[in-house]
């Protein structure tokens, strides 16, 4: 029963490299899932029943199937149809698609919370539909849903650890290597647990600050 953290010191640069890879994957997946989420939210709330049906099926499927199954589907499936991507690209794509399903749900509720009076005023002012969507609907919807979007992002960071199962050596993957090098799995995984927890805590603090900044002119919103 020894708990000796100094044993990890020589492996810190290696772990940091993994952390950088995790950060890259998360940021790319965040951008990807925001893009997908906005498009899908627009489809779900659109007037066309077919488009909103299709978008709903996408959200429903990717929210109810485990991420690891989706990941294997893409990782083993894509080469089958002649698309050869490395583990990093596959992981980012899978994360974006899965994250997009959750993001679109958040943005959708942001869109639905917009006062219809605002939209009518915009229509009366003679703005075209794409302009209303870009200049009025999206800014309001994104601003009100900063907090829920943040928890989707935090979930994305936690989910990115699953990318280690498709041979990608991000933070969890490199920790696995260090654990088998040093034979000290308890120390390394305990440190990893605390590292992830503090990272997501910092992210949630940043999101709270961003929320307050974006909604600073809103009265009654703390």
């Amino acid at each position: 029963m020894t708990f000796d953290l100094t044993i990890l010191a020589p492996h810190i640069p290696f772990l940091l490299k993994g952390a950088v890879l995790t950060a890259e994957a998360c940021v790319l997946a965040l951008v990807g899932s925001l893009c997908i989420g906005m498009i899908v939210a627009a489809l779900v709330t659109s007037a066309s029943p077919i488009l909103s049906r299709i978008a709903y099926i996408y959200v429903d499927l990717f929210r109810n199937i485990p991420f690891i199954v989706q990941l294997f589907f893409f990782f083993y499936g894509l080469p089958e149809i002649g698309i050869y991507l490395d583990a990093f690209a596959t992981g980012v794509i899978a994360l974006s698609i899965a994250g997009g399903a959750f993001t679109s749900d958040v943005i959708r509720s942001g869109i639905l919370s917009i006062d219809t009076g605002i939209l009518e005023a915009a229509e009366v002012s003679g703005l075209s539909k794409p302009t209303i969507f870009r200049k009025i609907v999206m800014p309001i919807a994104l601003r009100t849903s900063v907090r829920p979007l943040g928890s989707v992002f935090i979930n994305l960071i936690l989910t990115s650890s699953i990318l280690s199962t498709i041979t990608l050596n991000e933070l969890t993957g490199s920790a696995k290597i260090v654990a088998s090098d040093t034979f000290r799995p308890f120390e390394i995984y305990a440190v990893l647990l605390v590292a992830y927890a503090s990272l997501t805590y910092l992210v949630s603090l940043a999101i709270g600050a961003l929320h307050r900044y974006l909604n600073r002119d809103q009265s009654g919103v703390a």
Binding site: N64, I65, P66, F67, T159, A179, L193, Y196, A197
Partner: protein, 223 residues
């Protein structure tokens, strides 16, 4: 000799994997519900040191990847405490703890959703703290919590797929085995995904039905 095509035994394999996934899901859900409610009760009674420990522990469990928790229990515990942990034991410990952390949060907010005045009124009538919890808070908190709980359970079902990584032969592991043998990833993973999807939908449906029943007393019955 390689069997690269699907055989009728694959259905048995899939059913077996499904059974393992479901059994582990049910077991960890029950343990998690009990443990999480217990933590919430500890907080309700404001037990001095325990409350802080529970809060920190739940925060740690909620904010770290389940995969890392699994590795910590499965690889870490044997090395640290010289305990022998089988994959299934590690899976049960981790998933129960994880479920408990989220149940704790839901239970705490459910308890807090009940108005102070109700509790004060009950105390004035001479009910003990336990009686208040049992007869005033619990029934209302249940109706409040069932919605978030259903969402949580749908999520936890998907989390069970991670235990395939430490070698539990659940549905995802079976998918892996079939995938390596038949080399038909699209068919295999679509099938596995469909099974998970159906299970998730069943849980959501069950939760909605239960919620309707628990909220029956507040439903609009007409004039």
């Amino acid at each position: 000799m390689r069997y690269t095509s699907f055989t009728s035994y694959d259905i048995v394999l899939l059913a077996q994997g499904l059974g393992v996934s479901l059994a582990l899901f049910l077991a960890t859900t029950i343990i998690g519900l009990l443990l999480g409610s217990l933590w919430a009760v500890i907080r309700f009674y404001r037990v001095p040191v325990l409350t802080q420990i529970v809060t920190v522990f739940a925060e740690l469990l909620k904010n770290s990847p389940v995969l890392v928790q699994l590795f910590l229990v499965f690889f870490g515990l044997p090395a640290f405490a010289k305990l022998n942990v089988t994959p299934v034991e590690a899976a049960v410990i981790t998933l129960s703890g994880n479920t408990a952390a989220f149940v704790y949060v839901i239970a705490v907010s459910a308890i807090e959703s009940i108005g102070r005045d109700q509790i004060e009124a009950a105390r004035v009538f001479g009910l003990s703290r336990w009686q208040v919890l049992r007869h005033i808070i619990a029934p209302q908190a249940m109706a409040f919590a069932i919605g978030p709980l259903t969402g949580l359970l749908v999520n936890q079902l998907q989390v069970t797929s991670l235990i395939s990584v430490i070698g539990v032969v659940d549905l995802t592991k079976i998918g892996n085995i079939l995938n390596l043998r038949t080399l038909k990833p699209f068919v295999v993973w679509a099938m596995v995904g469909a099974l998970y999807y159906v299970m998730a939908k069943l849980i959501a449906y069950g939760g909605a039905t239960l919620e309707k029943r628990l909220r029956a007393h507040t439903a609009w019955k007409g004039l």
